[in-house]
């Protein structure tokens, strides 16, 4: 178990060398892009879906993100982090931007009622790597204090600003800022992010 976890740890994007794929994508290689899509899409879509919730809008955002990766592939540099981190950073920001626009908020409320009944994708079996990832993240979230954990979860998965987090948890803003940072640092150490 220890060994397998470590392998997943070293390669969150497990499988093909994504930096190498990016180099090919930068030269307009569509089949390399297709392989990159296969590696990235479940984490990207899953994270977007968690923030945006509405499946149709989540698909739109995921498509924007993947097309942006194609468009800007030549500007990716491995020194700035892994391809997965590059893509996930873009995805989360786009997801948050989407939910913060007032129109999207209205759409979300409108759609949520009729879509909530059937959630077809939640039941789909997750990939093995994703399950390891999930167990590890869950375990590490468990090492945070309650306030750290609630703050981080509301901010990241809920797409809330730290001000909204402060209101929701009835906690001063300075405290929330500190807890978000402390919480992430503790997570980093637990997950072994170098």
């Amino acid at each position: 178990m220890g060994e397998r976890v470590r392998r997943v740890r070293e390669e969150p994007g497990a499988g093909p060398d994504t930096a190498e794929l990016m180099r090919h994508v930068a030269r307009g290689d569509e089949s390399a892009f297709e392989r990159l899509y296969d590696v990235l899409i479940a984490p990207i879509y899953g994270a977007i879906r968690r923030v945006v919730r509405d499946p149709a809008q989540s698909e739109e955002v995921a498509q924007e993100v993947m097309v942006e990766l194609w468009r800007t592939a030549a500007r990716y540099s491995p020194e700035r982090g892994s391809v997965m981190t590059f893509a996930m950073t873009l995805a989360h920001r786009r997801a948050v931007d989407r939910v913060r626009s007032a129109q999207a908020a209205a759409d979300r409320e409108e759609h949520v009622g009729r879509r909530e009944a059937a959630r077809p994708f939640d039941e789909v079996a997750e990939q093995v790597t994703a399950r390891f990832e999930q167990e590890q993240v869950r375990r590490c979230l468990g090492t945070l204090t309650e306030l750290q954990r609630e703050s981080v979860v509301l901010a990241y998965y809920g797409g809330r600003t730290y001000k909204e987090v402060g209101e929701l948890l009835d906690t001063p803003l300075g405290t929330i800022k500190t807890r978000l940072r402390d919480g992430l640092i503790r997570l980093r150490d637990c997950l072994g992010v170098a």
């Binding site: 307009g28 097309v67 997750e126 730290y162 940072r181 980093r188």
Partner: protein, 241 residues
């Protein structure tokens, strides 16, 4: 506010900051190696949070994405997507030094505030110097002072033809706890945020672009992180003339 900016790392990485705060923080990042390192690590950590909720989308998404990339032109490799820290090349230093000389000359006439602001912590100092030079070159530069000891004193250096204003201060008190100063362009059509002013040791500078549609530039005290629209009466205003 300095320690506060630093404490924002977590919120920034989690996209839990307002657009204005994001800009302030990213400006801070260009001058803080330790912060960039921390952001990189925490970003990777946040990525793990995202990957932990992986879930495959409907297969039709792939067809749709593949169809779209076939009609999407790729950007060339030059010019980074996000502005990266520029290395301090001799050229940048020379530019900086030249701008400082201009400022010294100008300050003899216009007062000492400009130079004080120029020294503020190095954040975007080059960009600031460039903005000052741009305004001074315009031929219609104006300088207006506002405020008193209680509000803090600010100087606006503006040019309508350069379409920008630089707000500078050397003795601005910190905003009360839980508040931030926010600048606004106030026009007939709309009032728009021009960004937050976060003095460090009393010093602050903010470039306000696009003043052509504005009658005034005003500064209000807003809840920390700023507001979408002003919620208070301005503590000072500058007429755009």
């Amino acid at each position: 506010m300095n320690a506060d900016v630093h404490a924002l790392t977590g919120a920034y990485v989690l996209d839990a900051v307002s657009t204005d705060e994001r800009q302030v923080f990213e400006r801070h990042l260009t001058d803080c190696d330790a912060c960039r390192q921390e952001v990189a690590e925490l970003r990777e950590t946040a990525t793990r949070l995202g990957a932990a909720v992986a879930s495959p989308p409907p297969p039709r998404l792939k067809d749709s994405v593949m169809a779209q990339i076939r009609v999407t032109r790729q950007l060339p490799p030059e010019a980074p997507v996000v502005p990266l820290r520029r290395p301090r090349s001799p050229w940048a230093l020379r530019l900086s030094a030249a701008a400082a000389v201009v400022l010294l000359v100008v300050s003899g006439v216009l007062g000492v505030l400009l130079v004080q602001a120029r020294q503020s912590d190095g954040t975007g100092a080059d960009a600031q110097a460039a903005a000052i030079a741009d305004i001074l070159r315009s031929g219609d530069a104006q300088v207006v002072n506002q405020g008193d000891a209680s509000t803090g004193r600010m100087t606006a250096l503006m040019s309508k033809s350069a379409n920008r204003m630089l707000l500078l201060t050397g003795d601005m008190p910190n905003a009360p706890s839980g508040k931030d100063y926010q600048a606004w362009t106030i026009g007939e059509e709309a009032t728009k945020s021009a960004g937050l002013i976060q003095p460090q040791g009393g010093k602050a500078a903010l470039e306000v672009a696009g003043i052509d549609a504005a009658q005034q530039v005003g500064i209000t005290l807003e809840p920390e992180g700023g507001s979408d629209q002003p919620t208070q009466q301005p503590i000072m205003t500058f007429e755009v003339t």
